[in-house]
Amino acid sequence: MVTLEDYKGGPTAWCPGCGNFGILLALQQALVALELPPHQVLIVSGIGQAAKLPHYLKCNTLNGLHGRTLPVATGARLANHELTVIAVGGDGDGYGEGGNHFLHALRRNIDITYLVHNNQVYGLTKGQASPTSDPGFVTKTTPQGAPTPLNPLSVAIAAGGGFVARSFSGDIPHLSGLIQQAIQHRGFSLVDVLQPCVSFNPKNTFAWYRERVHRVEEPGHDPTDKMVAFARAQEWDGSIPIGVIYRHQRPTFEEELPALRDGALVKRKLEPGHVARLLSEFK
């Protein structure tokens, strides 16, 4: 049996009260609930406060470059598609620097779960506006206020995402449940997590989010209807839906890749003789 103890990591370097703690706990709970032993889990992260997460629990870890979480996770997953691969990063990491990988991971539908700690700000570099900062958000790089934000859920639906969800780090049971669903979903799954940054985001606080978030399924929502989902993804001012906004099952990239038919690449033998036949094609 897998227990929370198995996932217990060392000391963290986050600020006291940071929304990241809730995400860490929810993730640990989800992994335990799914009975995944740590050695079968690989967490790939970028650079930022969010991206430090894998250092704070126990699992295989590649903490890579800012913005490059998804490609690293994609490469690892294709090398060994028996691993549970979770990608973790911030909003700057994933929607700013890494925006192109986000678009293409969505359309490729590689079976990875992507957790974005969306604190609507650059935390680690001390408070610049992020692509999801609310319009008008004043920071040192945006003294005139931030421009129109990117709506990650809208983009995810538009770009072919098959599991598009949002949760709130202040609601750990909800978040943990959603992470479980995301991991179980076959294909790319996005969980955008509203995460208060107590040091650099004085606007979008725990209280601010708590006042606004509501479960998308209350009173009712059909997550399989793309148009309805797109409409719900537009909601923000006043009321922010959390839960699975859109869900659509289609073949994963791994399933469609002939090279993976005979099992995980990492388990296959290296045999120079295999190319003998190819040589004759050049005669």
Partner: protein, 567 residues
């Protein structure tokens, strides 16, 4: 040489003829010259056949097959005395022809023979063999292979068209080139490009993952790998960009497979950051950088060796790397396989530095000896069932190489980060640990230096002049030595297939040579710069070309004489 517009089939004509020669025992070298466009402009495919191994082109033409008028204008001056220009005078409506022109009504013959003017090119192939005194049967075999996928009808039509051309020149015209060729027996050699050889090397080495983004002249590596991926179990991804490609490769290599990317300089720019990630996380990756002349897009379909110093120093911070620059297609095969071994044994990035001349030229090589390809995975711990006690990915060991577990090993966690880290792979700020980790990583360079490929030496041991080259200039340089020798100048070639780390014996080899001339396809003398930085040896002279065109043996010999005249 076959010359014509892009889209006219220049490459097909040239390649079929080259294959005929290769199949019948000739050693062949064929280089390609084309522009960055799909139709129009001017392309050529230049085939050279010799009785022994050949790795260089030569400017002098015995036969010029001109598919358009422009090819005559551009190349007639290169036709050697006694050489012939073969063209369709009827179609090109040539008012005045150079005296050595052999006009064959290719299109008309094609129409007559197979009612298809598009087969004029095949007629030209037949005519070319006829004029060279060659056996048409060989061509028929090759055409069969070449068009097999299109069905017997297409094959038959091509064979007939070829015969029509052959017949026309042998029976009706009875013209012959000065240099007549005869088959030299069945050699069983391969005819392939540097890119194909390199891709085969990667496949032989068990590369299981490739992510890249198309970029001339590297693209056909990915294309070849992709075509064989389903059958051999190799995941080949056309990524959204080169940043993604290289990060995917790092992810795949970390997860335990042999992984590579291929690109050219512009795409390599975007891979640089992830190269550094591989460096600090000690992840073995192989990157092919197929150079072309820059800066930026530069001359995208042409030849340059302008990125040596870039790949040597690419990425912030300091970490060990090796740079291999295959001299020939044969080396492209073996050194690519070697690159995977090096990268896994030292757990660090290895760059294969290629270029257009190597990548796109066809050469005959003896079938690769697959027994020579050894799989050396260094400190990799095979996936097992028992947990590895107290496993630490970046354990400090005497030789700096840490046992490398594969994520998913039971009871074992593999942790790493692009931040400076402790032995376990967690972030550290500790000054002492930082120093030890730097020394651990950089220490690996010494091991690589110790086993750096020795320079290839060719020519006299008591030279008046030593030519130093690297990478794909090997063929032209080697022949230049022969030319110089024939002209009475005692020359020696010292050639590097591994520009980094430089082999230790290089200093000794060069220190007594007063007449050292470094030969490079660039403008600033990057190898000369590196040589001086590393050994203190300053070259006496330089031969540099940077117009995107390859130096021929004769070009080198001439420039050397000019150079030495100034001494």
């Amino acid at each position: 040489m076959v010359g014509g517009e892009a889209g006219q089939g220049v490459q097909t004509v040239g390649l079929v003829l080259a294959r005929v020669l290769a199949r019948s025992g000739w050693w062949v070298f064929a280089d390609q010259d084309y522009e960055s466009r799909i139709r129009g402009g001017h392309n050529f495919f230049r085939v050279r056949a010799r009785e022994g191994p050949v790795h260089a082109h030569s400017e002098a033409l015995d036969l010029l097959i001109a598919l358009d008028r422009n090819s005559i204008d551009l190349h007639q001056s290169e036709v050697a005395p006694g050489g012939i220009i073969l063209c369709d005078g009827e179609k090109l409506k040539l008012e005045q022809q150079p005296p050595n022109t052999l006009s064959v009504p290719l299109e008309r013959l094609a129409r007559e023979a197979v009612s298809n003017p598009l087969m004029a090119n095949t007629v030209a192939m037949g005519a070319a063999l006829g004029v060279s005194g060659y056996d048409i049967g060989l061509l028929e075999d090759v055409l069969e292979g070449h068009f097999a996928a299109s069905g017997t009808e297409v094959v038959q039509a091509n064979v007939q068209a070829a015969r029509a051309g052959y017949h026309y020149v042998t029976s009706e015209l009875k013209v012959r080139t000065r240099q007549q060729l005869t088959p030299r027996g069945k050699a069983g050699r391969l005819l392939l490009t540097g890119n194909e050889a390199l891709a085969l090397g990667a496949l032989a080495a068990g590369c299981r993952f490739m992510a890249s983004y198309p970029m001339t002249p590297s693209t056909s590596i990915m294309e070849y790998m992709a075509s064989k991926g389903p059958e051999l179990g190799v995941a080949v991804l056309h990524a959204e960009d080169e940043i993604s490609a290289m990060n995917m490769v790092v992810g795949a290599a970390f997860a335990g497979v042999r992984a590579m990317a291929a690109t050219s300089g512009g795409g390599f720019c975007l891979m640089v950051e992830a190269l550094g990630l591989a460096g600090i996380t000690e992840t073995p990756v192989v990157v092919v950088e197929a150079q072309r002349p820059g800066p930026a897009t530069g001359l995208p379909t042409r030849y340059g060796q302008e990125d040596l110093e870039f790949v040597l120093h690419a990425a912030q911070g300091e970490f060990p790397r090796a740079v291999l620059a295959p001299a020939t297609a044969e080396e492209a095969f073996y050194l690519t396989a070697h690159a995977f071994n090096l990268s896994e044994r030292y757990q660090t990035p290895v760059i294969v530095l290629s270029d257009h001349y190597l990548a796109s030229s066809y050469t005959t090589v003896e079938p690769f000896d697959l027994n020579q390809v050894k799989i050396e995975r260094g400190a990799l711990i095979p996936l097992g069932v028992d947990p590895l006690p107290d496993y630490r990915r970046h354990r400090l060991t005497p030789d700096g190489i840490s046992p490398r577990a594969i994520p998913s090993h039971p009871g074992t966690l593999v942790v790493t980060t692009g931040d400076e880290h402790d032995e376990e792979g967690h972030i550290t700020e500790d000054a002492g640990l930082r120093t030890r980790m730097m020394l651990k990583r950089l220490g690996k360079l010494e091991g690589m230096r110790g086993e750096a490929l020795p320079p290839q030496v060719y020519g006299t041991s008591r030279p008046q002049v030593t030519l130093l080259g690297w990478g794909s200039t090997y063929g032209p340089l080697r022949e230049a030595v022969d030319l110089l020798d024939a002209g009475g100048m005692a020359a020696r070639l010292v050639h590097l297939s591994q520009p980094w780390p430089l082999p230790a014996q290089l200093t000794g080899m060069l220190s007594d040579s007063e007449g050292l001339v470094v030969v490079e396809q660039n403008a600033t003398g990057q190898m000369a710069h590196l040589l001086r930085a590393e050994t203190g040896i300053a070259a006496r002279g330089h031969i540099r070309r940077f117009d995107g065109r390859p130096m021929s043996p004769a070009f080198i010999a001439t420039r050397l004489k000019e150079e030495m005249a100034r001494w």
